[in-house]
């Protein structure tokens, strides 16, 4: 079995539901009513928001990077444990096969 080919076959795109586009269009109509063009916002408010955001960005970036590091480390741990599990299972099955063989 060629796993690459089998995965391509198994993971072919699944079509969106028939009413998907209609639902998205319906939501955009609601969204239009909410969106306020930037040019209408008070300039002072926009400036204050920008300054506040600039102050927060360094710590937010740091926290984001820490979280991503933790998530990557966790994913590596899961992979290591999964590989361990597969190999332990393989050993167990070989023992069981050998035992059946002897019987």
């Amino acid at each position: 079995m060629n796993l690459d080919d089998e995965l391509r076959a198994a993971l072919q795109r699944e079509p969106a539901p028939v009413d998907f586009a209609a639902k998205v269009t319906a939501k955009t109509r609601t969204s239009k009513a909410r969106v306020v063009p930037f040019r209408r916002r008070p300039a002072a408010l926009a400036l204050a928001a920008a300054l506040a955001l600039a102050a927060l960005v360094p710590s937010a970036v740091y926290q984001y990077r820490q979280q991503r590091r933790a998530i990557q480390a966790r994913d590596q741990l899961i992979a290591a444990l999964s590989i361990t599990k597969v190999q332990l299972q393989h050993v167990r099955e070989r023992i069981q096969q050998n035992t059946r063989h002897k019987i």
């Binding site: 995965l7 993971l11 992979a79």
Partner: protein, 161 residues
């Protein structure tokens, strides 16, 4: 930019990535709709249909990963702890496809998305690395490990038949 055309051209890609990743049809549809809405609100900044496709693909990948982490959808049981199907099927290809999709859905989040982008979207590791902001070596490592685990599990399932 014709938004309706963008939706028509990309809905399958966006929805399929979400539903294969989350294994939750309703949740995937909601997420996919949200991503199109986000694009709609930024439509003036989208320069071309291919720009829209790239933007949507990146957005749905990151939203899916965030959603999965929020739901703590990573597997609570390892791949081999899930009972193997015992019934023979008259349609072995369909059964295999479903088994493969289930295995992919049980991979850790980053690896799962890498495998989907590789085999559903046919992206190469360089493109996947750019999309997920991940080193190419990490992408290749995810692919290698994931295939090894799935191959091992398929072989174990064959032994048990």
């Amino acid at each position: 930019m014709d938004f309706a055309q963008v939706v028509a051209d990309n809905q399958s890609m966006v929805f399929s990535l979400a539903v294969r990743f989350l294994r939750d049809r309703e949740g995937a549809e909601e997420l996919a709709q949200d991503v199109f809405l986000q694009l709609y609100e930024k439509l003036s900044r989208i320069e071309s249909p291919s720009h829209a496709t790239g933007w949507l693909r990146r957005a749905i990948c990151h939203r899916c990963i965030d959603e999965a982490r929020k739901r703590r959808l990573r597997p609570r049981v390892g791949l081999d702890a899930v009972p193997e199907p015992l019934a023979e099927s008259r349609h072995p290809d369909l059964l295999l496809n479903e088994r493969l999709r289930r295995m992919v859905a049980e991979l850790p989040e980053s690896a799962r998305m890498v495998v989907l982008l590789r085999y559903q979207e046919d992206l190469d590791p360089t493109d996947i690395a750019g999309l997920l902001s991940m080193p190419i070596s990490t992408v290749k490592s995810h692919l290698h490990r994931s295939l090894a685990v799935m191959r091992g599990r398929l072989e174990r399932q064959e032994i048990c038949r």
